[in-house]
């Protein structure tokens, strides 16, 4: 049975109200988790642009996330740059490096692209670990308390509405992007590069833009993360986190904005809930992933679409 427009709008309104009242109904711990999940949503949306929409198997997403975190922390902590400016700077630097990576790797595809971007991610983690003077190396770096628009962020509750607002803006921007000509070009490249070329799509430029935008999202996620986190260690920016974000978009449904959001929420929640079952969590996590792949091979969004009709999980 298809979901009607009023039902969709009603669900969105309920979700929005729930998100707005959440910090008033729960503890700082839950708000911290909510903040983390919102960050995961931005990360997943960014990776979805590259892998899900454009079909480019890039595995350097967490490197750009790290660039966002470190740039924000360094500018705000050492140079007293206002936090919003530092976040934008981190986003732009990540985007610039993403542009360069896209420009040098646009000819690669599939496993070769995956390996080269994986290597870049590993190299960046090495930089975070080894560039002591800038990143404080393996000691990790303390992130100063954030202050935005005259408002000091002293705890997770303070940060929540800022993180939520940024995430909503990112989601809306992504919806607009995917409905734009560029969004259609992304999908054309994903489906068939020769066909996209025949339709007049500049494949090379489209790929580079996808890399750049994906990195900008990750840089933004890093900057926003820095606004409520007090510490970053290079160990958190390794391949495990890359795989986590990749799993989010696969479980949610590649090429779907709703899927990326649902994947981030589902995996984020599962990860946290499984901490309560330490002895079995790896097994349970593996079984859950297998079940998803068996019964929802096109992700949660794909399963919902199949059940409720095309419009439900766009």
């Amino acid at each position: 049975m298809p979901i009607t427009l009023p039902a969709k709008l009603g669900s969105l309104a309920v979700a929005l109200i729930a998100l707005i009242v959440l910090p008033h109904l729960t503890t700082g711990y839950v708000v911290y988790l909510a903040n983390l999940m919102l960050i995961y949503i931005i990360l997943a949306l960014g990776l979805n642009i590259l892998i899900g929409e454009t079909g480019q198997f890039g595995l350097a997403h967490v490197a750009f996330y790290g660039i966002g975190i470190y740039t924000t922390a360094i500018l705000a902590g050492r140079f007293d740059v206002p936090f919003p400016v530092a976040i934008v700077a981190g986003m732009l630097l990540a985007g610039a490096i993403g542009f360069l990576l896209g420009a040098v790797s646009f000819r690669m595809r599939d496993i070769y692209l995956a390996l080269s971007t994986f290597a870049f991610g590993e190299a960046m983690q090495w930089v975070f670990k080894s560039w002591d003077d800038v990143t404080n190396g393996p000691n990790g770096m303390r992130i100063p308390q954030a202050s935005m628009f005259g408002f000091r962020i002293t705890n997770d509750h303070d940060a929540y509405y800022i993180v939520l607002a940024v995430t909503i803006v990112v989601v809306l921007a992504t919806v607009a992007l995917m409905r734009s000509r560029l969004g259609r070009a992304f999908r054309a490249v994903r489906e068939s590069e020769p066909a996209a070329l025949a339709l007049g799509v500049n494949v090379r430029l489209t790929k580079v833009i996808a890399f750049t935008l994906s990195a900008v999202y990750a840089g933004l996620a890093g900057g926003v993360y820095a606004s409520f986190s007090s510490f970053i260690h290079p160990d958190s920016l390794g391949f495990t986190t890359t795989i986590l974000v990749l799993t989010m978009i696969v479980v949610g449904g590649l090429g779907s904005i709703a899927g990326a959001i649902m994947g981030a929420l589902i995996l984020g929640l599962i990860q946290e809930l499984l901490r309560q079952a330490p002895s079995y969590q790896e097994i349970i996590y593996g079984v859950i992933l297998i079940l998803f792949m068996m019964y929802a091979p096109k992700g949660v969004a794909g399963a919902i679409k199949a059940r409720f009709g095309r419009s439900a999980a766009k």
Binding site: T27, Y29, L36, P138, S236, E272, R275, Q276
Partner: protein, 412 residues
């Protein structure tokens, strides 16, 4: 052994808050309302956490088991001031985000009175800002946690196994005093641990009039020929390795191949499984002049450790029957839990978080487990700064005389 156990159990509080008469686990609790969460007339809630899953599980699970058995023992003797300790256990996965989530859950959702946990230094440091702001006393489990201990803060206490700074200082002390070394080859890692232990190694060498030749290597190094040849060119009397087990294996193998006969000391950073080390090096001949650092008060199966092993076997018979159990890190969980119970005891019948943290800032006690006293001071939040050394020939460990105490002092 009963004496050893009782000494540890009673705390043997050498110094503490002024005017407190040492009385072990009094039975009369305070009554009424309490200003801090996690405490009632009958119970006190402690948050206990460690990596209980993933690759770092081996570092945290057994120390957590040891801490838990200590808390249970205290409960079986009536608790502290009549209050039973209630544990809330969390898995921190040795990861900063997960550790912070675990700590926030314990403090804000489970409403524990104080927290005890963490086996991974980098992850433990991530909780520093939060616990300091929330003013919750935090005692690390077996993380050295130097990054959160210097400069000192009011609520965080760690290095109950040993601080990294003491690792380097006491190894050089042993090399110069016991082995009479004047020229010391020193191989550390090019990470935070390496930098910390080198700081005190240099301090101690200078004090002893010895010269260090330092090679800092990556923990993932695959060929140690170059750094080892440089050390050989220095012609050292003793070589100290503060590396992890894998690089130590490569170095021992290569040193044997190169015919380097001088004593080699491996610090506690690389001694997790000595049998495995021997297997990996491939020949016991490489261990003819080999010493290992330890931070407990005896050989792992020595008489002073018997009460710990007996307690473990009694509480966890199935685990104890497994190979490689208990792990070498297991005993470290006991002094961590003792730090909590002793501070609660000294804080009196109506403890507050602030009061417990204040007590801990000057707490000193004999654990009956570790090489030296567990001791905190005005500028010192590292609990244990002593080590012992064992001669290891590939089969047997022979305790060397003396306990080596770090003389390095943090100056703000």
């Amino acid at each position: 052994m009963k004496t050893m156990f009782r000494a540890a159990l009673m705390g043997l509080v050498l110094t503490g808050s002024a005017g407190f008469s040492a009385q072990a686990f009094p039975v009369k609790a305070g009554q009424g309302s309490y200003s801090d969460p996690g405490i009632t007339d009958d119970t006190i809630k402690i948050g206990l956490f460690a990596p209980l899953s993933g690759p770092a599980q081996a570092y945290g699970e057994d120390p957590l088991n040891a801490a838990r058995m200590w808390y249970e023992t205290v409960n079986s003797m009536g608790g502290i001031w009549g209050r039973k300790i209630e544990l809330v256990i969390e898995d921190d996965r040795c990861n900063a985000n997960d550790l912070v989530a675990a700590v926030k859950k314990l403090v804000e959702q489970d409403k524990v009175f104080m927290i005890n946990g963490g086996s991974c230094s980098a992850a433990a440091v991530a909780a520093q800002e939060y616990v300091t702001r929330a003013k919750v006393p935090y005692v690390m489990l077996n993380a050295s946690g130097d990054g959160a201990l210097y400069p000192p803060t009011d609520y965080i206490f760690g290095a109950i196994s040993i601080s990294q700074r003491a690792v380097g200082g006491t190894a050089v002390d042993f090399a110069t005093r016991h082995l009479k070394g004047k020229k010391i080859g020193y191989i550390n890692h090019d990470d935070a641990y390496g930098a910390w232990n080198l700081e005190t190694a240099e301090f101690t060498a200078k004090e002893a009039g010895a010269t260090l030749s330092v090679e800092s290597i990556n923990p993932n190094i695959t060929d140690v020929t170059a750094p080892l040849l440089k050390i050989r060119a220095f012609n050292p009397d003793v070589i100290i390795l503060t590396t992890y087990a894998r690089p130590a294996t490569l170095i021992l193998k290569k040193a044997h191949e190169l015919g380097m006969k001088m004593p080699i000391i491996l610090t506690v950073t690389g001694t997790a499984n000595l049998k495995q080390l021997v297997d990996n090096v491939g020949t016991k001949d490489a261990f003819k002049n080999f010493y290992v650092q330890d931070v407990i008060n005896d050989t792992p199966d020595g008489p002073k450790q018997k009460w710990v092993l007996d307690m473990y076997k009694k509480r966890y018979p199935e685990l104890a029957a497994k190979p490689d159990h208990p792990t070498p890190y297991m005993p470290y969980g006991i002094p961590a839990a003792q730090t909590v119970t002793h501070a609660l005891l000294l804080a009196g019948p109506n403890p507050t978080r602030e009061g417990v943290a204040r007590i801990m800032r000057s707490l000193t006690f004999e654990s009956g487990v570790m090489a030296g006293l567990i001791s905190y001071g005005e500028n010192d939040r590292a609990g244990q700064e002593s080590s012992i050394f064992l001669k290891f020939d590939g089969d047997k460990q022979e305790l060397q005389p003396g306990v080596y105490v770090s003389r390095w002092v943090y100056k703000p």
